[in-house]
């Protein structure tokens, strides 16, 4: 079994790249891989808890929490979060906040990196 790191930079609602990333993470973990996720740029929108699960909008909080409870590491970019007004107390349980160097360090040991850089 291997280790897969996903770097995601897309907004919660919009390109659906976050939806893609969580479903890919789910499939990876189902196959026994370790999955790490770095959320930066507009993807730090995941770092605000209490998102209402309306059917008209992408909603990934539930799946993310489920995957974190099964061992997925999720870390969000601290500066990107603060610039958007998301503070420590906004973070969903289990999620970490760190500087970008956390992500850079992950690239060393991970077997594969899928970096989704755009919106």
């Amino acid at each position: 079994m291997g280790e897969l790191t996903l770097g995601v930079f897309s907004s919660l609602v919009g390109s659906m790249s976050l939806d893609f990333s969580f479903k890919l993470a789910e499939a990876g973990m189902a196959k026994g891989h370790k999955v790490n996720m770095w959320l930066s740029g507009n993807a730090v929108m995941m770092a605000k808890k209490g998102q209402k699960p309306f059917k008209d909008y992408s909603h990934n909080e539930k799946l993310m929490k489920e995957l974190m409870s099964k061992g997925m590491e999720v870390t969000v970019c601290e500066a990107c979060a603060e610039a958007r007004g998301y503070h420590k107390e906004d973070v969903p349980e289990g999620m970490k906040r760190a500087s970008m160097d956390w992500y850079l360090a992950k690239t060393v040991k991970t077997d594969k990196l899928l970096h989704i850089g755009g919106e």
Partner: protein, 100 residues
């Protein structure tokens, strides 16, 4: 040379690195609105993406059906895959990924 998986998530493309990149083994994985490359024939022609020489083409089934398309619409060059299949492509078949 390398084993490279390129992810395309958009229909209109404005960057041109894709045409220039070379790999010993190249997979082109169509996800999100990239699935239109597998099913839409603009002016009766296949998407130029599908003419990338030597590449293996894959399209994510879930993203096809989300947009109203099915296996019956998919270009014969392109293999339909699941999320699990994409995990296998990443972990077993390719060394490096480029989401462009």
């Amino acid at each position: 040379m390398m084993k490279l998986a390129v992810f395309l998530s958009d229909w209109r493309r404005t960057e041109d690195s894709f045409e220039r990149m070379k790999a010993e083994k190249m997979g082109v994985i169509l996800v999100g609105n990239g699935v239109y490359h597998a099913v839409v024939k603009e002016n009766g022609k296949d998407s130029p993406v599908l003419s990338k020489a030597g590449a293996n083409f894959y399209v994510l089934s879930d993203d096809l059906t989300t947009r109203g398309f099915t296996a019956a619409n998919v270009n014969s060059k392109v293999k339909i895959v699941s999320y699990g299949d994409i995990v296998d492509l990443i972990m077993n078949d390719y060394e490096k990924m480029a989401w462009i």
